[in-house]
Amino acid sequence: MAKVTLNREDKISILGEMRAEVPESEWTDQERMEIAKLKRERASALFREKLVASLTELKKVLPKQGATPVYVSGGHVYKLGANDPIEVFDHQAAAPYAWKMAHDVRPARWSTGVKGCVECHSAGAPIFEGVVTALGPAPETEPVHHAMYELEGFDKQKLATWNLSFKGRPAFKWFAFVSAGIVALIVLAFLLTLLNGLFGLVRR
């Protein structure tokens, strides 16, 4: 939607005359970052130019009087502004577009939790604390970020408390198995005694 190709002058303005002649594969990380930053800024400006033109044309053909055409992308809403050419704002209706793809299909051996409870129930576990960045067709300089637990509607404090409880979970399982074993033996003894009593009654 807003693909940008930098010309020689643009590269010289960032890298200087000498380095601008060097092939891209020989740039340093710093140089790559600066070029990428310029591309993002140019793409954003180009996108806004196109958007102003599109929304202006769209407003002319909208049948409803006073209706405002908007563009939704990456969890943001764009509309023609009063002072700035484009105003960006958040709206509940745009929220579903903040995370368009949630279900990558994976084999069972890669599934979350296959390595144990703490794969999810521990601090920093990606299933709850992974950060989702909304990526729409519009080139965003400040894309919307959400932690997974926010999107899932979970309370952070509650998650931390659950994580804490899972630290003792393996020991609890052993304790519970031993406990159940003791009770099972007592129940077995009771049933055998009961059976013995019943046989005694029959014999009488």
């Binding site: 144990g116 309370d155 659950w162 129940v187």
Partner: protein, 205 residues
């Protein structure tokens, strides 16, 4: 397994969890009716009062602690099932904490009380001793004691494998159904047990 809101009676075995809220209400109402009817029966028939041995501090402590854990588990589960349709959030956390305590209390309860709760057992737990005291309990507390122990064991054993990566969704749902119904059995049995102990304390049995 498909979740359905209103299964027909013929579908009970297929959807036991969907039936649980209704069966829970029926069980609690039935327990209340049994309590009232049995009280009326006792008041009319007036069975002879027996001299029973007093409980030691340890026996009392174990019994009350078990009742407390069952109350926590019953409240956190049944209230949320009836009010919200399921157990979530802090209710689930409280239920899990109560479950940890119950798992610890159940063997203590069984070890402390099993001798005197055998049918035919007298004051000190032996069968037919020469004792000045009568049996520690009449038939109702003995019967409900074993329901608590057996139901409690089923409730524990049905949840333990659910914490291990052994079963798929369908089996986990079936284990949850066993857990729910055995938990209901424990709560109703504990209610009747506590009631029968009150009857004994009041000298009505």
């Amino acid at each position: 397994m498909t979740h359905i809101a209103n299964p027909s009676p013929e579908q009970f075995m297929l959807h036991p969890n969907a039936w649980f809220p209704r069966i829970l209400l029926v069980a609690l109402v039935a327990a209340a009716i049994v309590i009232v009817l049995y009280l009326m029966l006792v008041l009319v028939a007036r069975p002879p009062r027996m001299r029973r041995k007093k409980w030691s501090w340890w026996e009392t402590l174990v019994y009350l602690a078990t009742l407390l854990t069952i109350s926590i588990l019953g409240t956190t589960s049944f209230f949320t099932v009836l009010r919200y349709g399921g157990m979530h959030g802090w209710w689930l956390f409280a239920h899990m904490c109560g479950a940890g305590a119950f798992v610890g209390m159940l063997p203590l309860l069984a070890l402390t009380w099993f001798r005197v709760n055998r049918f035919g057992a007298h004051a000190d737990g032996a069968v037919n001793p020469m004792s000045e005291y009568g049996p520690r309990f009449f038939w109702l507390p003995k019967f409900t004691f074993w329901l608590i122990v057996i139901g409690g064991l089923a409730a524990c054993v049905s949840m333990l494998p659910s914490m291990l990566p052994l079963f798929g969704t369908d089996t986990l749902r079936q284990l949850l159904a066993i857990h729910r119904y055995s938990g209901l059995l424990v709560v109703v049995a504990a209610l009747l047990h506590f009631y029968s102990i009150l009857l004994q304390r009041a000298g009505l049995r």
